[in-house]
Structures are given as structure tokens and as C-alpha cells.
């Protein structure tokens, strides 16, 4: 469960004060696949970052599985990011000099896991995103679609409850987008909760529920009737 209560993010102060996210109250149940849409600058990324503890909340509160994330600090915060959330970004955000295997293994290492156990998990995750044959390549040598699949493998390696994806297909062409969306569908089918920011209507309609933002506020929140 993710519960947002009056969540507001204010940038700047006084004259330059700007509410990127303005008083959003939202509940996301376990196993939901939610698409967040809206015009550029409507606060989609900001909202996702707030949920993912990548930015600090100005007003309001967010609880994830009953845990108030605004009060997480130090080791708790690190554990939360490591165990509860898998991040996927538009620009992949990988280690360019790492091999695919090393890159996907990082969250496991940070969780304090080493050795054969990791190898098995990495193999499994890479198989899921169909990258088993690129295991030893450096991530910078991969295509955009492949890089995004590495990012997804990395996001799911610790088996998190929630996947936060910010325009995962924003830098990909139609074929690759479809590929990625299919992976998300599979992950959803396996019971994961997915929050995906997108400006692509087609992608949005892959989700169960579509939340539309404008000027930092929710202007519509509806079930996707086309969801199959």
C-alpha cells in the first residue's frame, strides 16, 4: 500500500515559490498497475521522486506499507530504497563501465549478499528481460532498449514490492517500447505494484488505472476500461 495525504512539494520560497506537487491525496493498493500522465511540467516526476524518497516532502505525508517515509533516515532509508523499491528511469541511470552482470548485482551487494546466491538471482533476472547473452558486456555498449532492460533487471533483483518507473520508454522507439511494456505487464502479472509515469497514451492504456496531473494536482483518477 502507498498512501499519500495532502502531499505538497514546494520549490523555492517567497516570490519564487513554486508548488510542483500540490496537495495530492492518493491511495495505491498492492498489485495495482498505475499510470501517471499529464503535460510536461505537471509534476509527474516530482511525485514519483517523493514516493521513492529521492526528494523531500514539503507538506503532507506518504506511507509505504504503513511506514512513514518522510521520517526514514540513514540505514532505514537505505534499506527502504534497497528492499522496497525498484527504480526505472527514462535515461536508464546505469553504471557505464560496469558489465551487465555487475550492474544488476549492485542492489544485492548493498543488501550484503555475495557469491553464488547472487549469480543465480542475476541469471534469473536477466533471463526475465531476455538479456542472458549480454551478461559480460559493458552497459555503455548496449542499445537503449537493452540498457532499459538491464535497468529493469536491476530494479527487480531484490524482489521489491513497488516498481517506480519514470518514462521508461521515453528514449525508446516503438518496437523497444512494446518490449519494455510487455516486461512491465509480466511483472504486474507476477503481483508487483507498478507506478509508471508516461506521456504516451498507448503506454498509459497498458495500466489498470490512470491518474492525470495538471499543475501539480490530480485532475482525474480513473480505472482503465481498456485494460486487458
Amino acid at each position: 500500500m502507498i498512501n499519500l495525504r495532502g502531499v505538497t512539494k514546494i520549490y523555492g520560497s517567497g516570490q519564487t515559490e513554486f508548488r510542483a506537487v500540490d496537495d495530492i491525496t492518493l491511495d495505491i493498493s498492492d498489485g495495482e498497475f498505475v499510470a501517471i500522465v499529464g503535460k510536461s511540467g505537471s509534476g509527474k516526476s516530482t511525485l514519483l521522486n517523493l514516493i521513492g524518497t529521492l526528494d523531500s516532502i514539503s507538506v503532507g505525508s506518504i506511507t509505504v506499507d504503513g511506514e512513514e517515509i518522510g521520517s526514514l533516515k540513514g540505514k532505514e532509508l537505505a534499506r527502504f530504497r534497497n528492499q522496497k523499491i525498484g527504480f526505472v528511469f527514462q535515461n536508464f541511470y546505469l553504471e557505464p563501465e560496469y558489465t551487465v552482470r555487475e550492474c544488476v548485482e549492485i542492489p544485492l551487494i548493498l543488501a550484503g549478499s555475495f557469491g553464488k546466491e547472487n549469480t543465480e538471482k542475476v541469471d534469473k533476472a536477466l533471463k526475465l528481460v531476455d538479456l542472458s547473452d549480454k551478461m559480460k558486456s559493458k552497459t555503455k555498449t548496449l542499445s537503449g532498449g537493452e540498457q532499459q532492460r538491464v535497468a529493469i533487471a536491476r530494479a527487480i533483483i531484490n524482489d521489491p514490492h513497488f516498481i517506480l518507473a519514470d518514462e521508461p520508454c521515453g528514449n525508446l522507439d516503438g518496437k523497444n517500447s512494446e518490449n519494455i511494456m510487455n516486461i512491465f505487464k509480466n511483472l504486474h502479472a507476477q503481483g508487483r505494484t507498478i507506478l509508471m509515469v508516461t506521456h504516451d497514451e498507448q503506454d498509459a492504456h497498458m495500466a489498470q488505472r490512470i491518474v492525470t496531473l495538471a499543475d501539480g494536482r490530480v485532475i482525474s483518477d480513473e480505472k482503465n476500461t481498456l485494460f486487458y
Binding site: 516526476s45 516530482t46 521522486n49 524518497t53 529521492l54 526528494d55 523531500s56 540513514g74 540505514k75 532509508l77 537505505a78 534499506r79 527502504f80 530504497r81 534497497n82 528492499q83 527504480f87 528511469f89 535515461n91 541511470y93 546505469l94 553504471e95 563501465e97 560496469y98 555487475e102 549492485i106 542492489p107 551487494i109 548493498l110 543488501a111 550484503g112 555475495f114 536491476r154 531484490n158 519514470d166
Partner: protein, 394 residues
């Protein structure tokens, strides 16, 4: 710990070039710092011991003695005010025929010294010791009464003295009374244990080189003199005021002229190298941290705590410092040896080259502590909102 080591390994692999460059630059300056500092230490220590050995016997006119009895009144405590206090005293010894010799020193046990041997004047301290040393007597007895004296056999030979003869002790002060002593015994120094004769501070001089107007004791306080080089100069100055000319022709006065600027230069160099080192470490390490900021952000995003991030970069820094300190210590020693060789050839000052482990340990500790502080501070700055910005920036 294991995860920190894992990332240290991967980071070192990726940052090989930067690390080598940092290490090289640090090696240059740390070598210079350690070289200058160890030269400074050896130089100053060497100079002090040089002064202690060669200079101490002459300095400061502390007492003006009119009679040998005045001399006797000085307690050993007064004479040994500090751990290194020496005295010299000069009187003239004359036999009945008017034949004379000079003494040069006085010591704790109230013996007079000449370049020929000791002349023992009784005091309570010597008496108890000498009573048990009869095998050293060549003839007569140890002096036991007023106005008795024992002389070394070489002194006796020089002044043609036999037991029962009278000898005059003439202070250099013309107005001071002369005293007559009867020779009660003649002794051979050899069988006597060293401690009967104190530490044998024989500052043997040619008798006629002393231009004392009267008997003077020379007093040198090593501790206060070590407080500064200028103390030595003051000492020399006070000697010339009292008319004691002997040490003024000493080559040490010439060394002062060279030593002061050398010491000052070394002090400035040490301070400068150290300051430059700190600036360099600061610059390189912040560059290092900045260069890896995207990686650090990604690592934090994936669940690395601040402790892990700190551990990785601090670990790398410590490894660099360790290697650099070892190499620089080597260069420092070489530089030290070379510099001391220069001292010997240019200034004719020879100092022992030592290398104190304190120097590398201290510089390693300082660099490490400084970097720890720096990394702790910059680590705190990479907070959550920075990660969001970094994600947007990429």
C-alpha cells in the same frame, strides 16, 4: 565491510588513472615535506648536541672566586643546576721554588684539574670515598685535615712535589688572598674508579690561552640555552662583557651566521610544503568525490547508506596515503642524507642522519584525519534531493 571492499575494488579499477596521478602529485610534495622536516629535526638536534659537546664548557661566568675556600662553599646542588651543567675554574698552583702551573677546571667533588692531572682538595664527599681507595696512593695519605692537598703523580712530578711540601693556590684575582696547602699524598689516577673523579670534564687548554683576570667558574645551562639559538648568542655576549675572551674566537660564532638562515629556511619550507599538501589533498579529493558524484547518487538510489559511500572513498584515500607515505619516507631519507652531506661539505658541519618514524606516522595521521573530515562533510551534502536533481541532470 565486505560490500565496501567490493566497491573499493571496482572503483580502483575504474579510477586507476586518477589514483595514479593523485599518488604521484602527493608523493612529490609529501617527499619534500618529509625531507625538509627530517632535515630540520636532524639539523637542530645535531646542532644542539654539537653545541653541548663543544661549547658548554666555556659559557657564562657564574661565580667570581677570590679564594679556594669560596670555591669549597659552593654546594654540588648549585653546580648541577641542570642535567648539563659544567664548570671550569682556573687558579695557579705554585711550589716553594716559584714554579707554577695552571688549573683549568673544578668539579663536583672539589678537585682542581690541570692538563697534567687532578689536585684533590678535601671535602666531605670525597673523603669518604677516598678512604677506601688506598691502593691509588703512591705515597703519603689522603688529605684529611685543613689546608691539606693530594696531587696526581704527574702534577707532583711537574712541580717537583713530595709529601710534606707546601704548595700555594693563587687565585687570578690579584686582591684575593693566597692560600698554602701541605701535600699529604701523591696518587695515581689509574686504579681509582671513574666515579672518584666525577666525569672527567677535562677541557684541556694550553695554560697561556686563558686570559682570566681571576679564577672563574663557567656555568652552562643547557635547558635554557636550548630554548633558542639566540640564547647562545646572548651567552657569548655576556662572556665578552665579563672579559672572558676564550670562546669568542670559537668557530661556533661563525656557524651562527649560517645556521640561523638555514633553520629559518627549513621552518618556512616545512610549513609551506605542509600547507601546499593540505591544499592539494583537499583539491584532489574533492575532485575525486565530484567526479564520482553520479555514481554515488546511483549507489544511494539503490540502497547504499552514507557510511558505505564514506567507507569506499575514505578506504581508497587511506590506501593512497599509505603507499605515498611509504614511498615519500624513502625519498625523505635520501634527501636528508644528501642535505647533511651538503652541510658537511659547504658548512663543515657534520650531523648524524636519523629518520624518525614520527614524521611519516604523523603526516599519515594528519592526512587521514583531514580527509575523513572532508569526506564526512561532503558526504552529508549528498542528500535525497541531490539524487533527484542528479536523476534529472543525466
Amino acid at each position: 565491510m565486505k560490500r565496501i571492499l567490493y566497491f573499493i575494488k571496482t572503483e580502483v579499477r575504474l579510477l586507476k588513472k586518477s589514483i595514479i596521478i593523485i599518488a604521484l602529485i602527493l608523493t612529490v610534495f609529501l617527499s619534500a615535506f618529509m625531507g625538509a622536516l627530517s632535515v630540520r629535526m636532524d639539523f637542530v638536534n645535531g646542532f644542539y648536541s654539537y653545541l653541548d659537546e663543544n661549547f658548554s664548557s666555556y659559557v657564562i661566568v657564574a661565580y667570581r672566586l677570590k679564594t679556594i675556600d669560596d670555591l669549597m662553599k659552593i654546594s654540588p646542588d648549585e653546580l648541577y643546576l641542570n642535567n648539563k651543567t659544567w664548570l671550569t675554574c682556573a687558579v695557579t698552583l705554585e711550589n716553594a721554588e716559584g714554579q707554577a702551573m695552571e688549573t683549568t677546571d673544578i668539579s663536583e667533588n672539589a678537585g682542581l684539574y690541570s692538563d697534567l692531572g687532578a689536585i684533590l682538595v678535601l671535602n666531605d664527599k670525597t673523603k669518604s670515598k677516598l678512604d677506601s681507595a688506598s691502593d691509588a696512593l703512591v705515597s703519603g695519605q689522603w688529605n684529611s685535615g685543613e689546608r691539606q692537598i693530594c696531587v696526581d703523580k704527574k702534577v707532583a712530578e711537574f712541580l717537583s712535589l713530595a709529601v710534606g711540601d707546601t704548595v700555594s693556590i693563587i687565585p687570578k684575582e690579584p686582591s684575593a688572598p693566597q692560600l698554602s696547602y701541605v701535600v699529604s699524598g701523591i696518587f695515581d689516577r689509574e686504579p681509582l674508579k671513574e666515579d672518584y673523579f666525577f666525569n672527567f670534564y677535562y677541557y684541556i687548554t694550553e695554560s697561556n690561552e686563558f686570559e682570566f683576570s681571576n679564577a672563574r667558574m663557567v656555568y652552562y645551562d643547557a635547558r635554557s640555552a636550548h630554548a633558542s639559538f639566540s640564547k647562545y648568542e646572548d651567552t657569548l655576549g655576556s662572556l665578552s662583557v665579563t672579559g672572558l675572551k676564550y670562546p669568542l674566537s670559537s668557530p661556533i660564532t661563525d656557524y651562527f651566521r649560517n645556521i640561523m638562515p638555514i633553520k629559518l629556511t627549513l621552518d618556512v619550507a616545512v610549513a609551506l610544503f605542509f600547507a601546499v599538501m593540505v591544499v592539494i589533498v583537499y583539491t584532489l579529493m574533492t575532485m575525486f568525490y565530484r567526479q564520482r558524484k553520479p555514481f554515488i547518487c546511483r549507489l544511494k538510489l539503490l540502497g547504499a547508506g552514507s557510511g558505505t559511500v564514506f567507507g569506499i572513498y575514505f578506504g581508497i584515500a587511506v590506501a593512497i596515503f599509505l603507499v605515498v607515505t611509504l614511498i615519500s619516507s624513502g625519498f625523505g631519507v635520501l634527501f636528508n642524507i644528501y642535505f647533511m652531506h651538503l652541510c658537511e661539505t659547504v658548512f663543515e658541519l657534520s650531523f648524524r642522519t636519523t629518520f624518525s618514524a614520527v614524521v611519516p606516522l604523523l603526516s599519515f595521521a594528519v592526512l587521514t584525519a583531514f580527509t575523513a573530515l572532508m569526506f564526512a562533510l561532503s558526504g552529508r551534502r549528498i542528500r535525497s534531493d541531490i539524487i533527484a536533481q542528479e536523476v534529472k541532470a543525466e
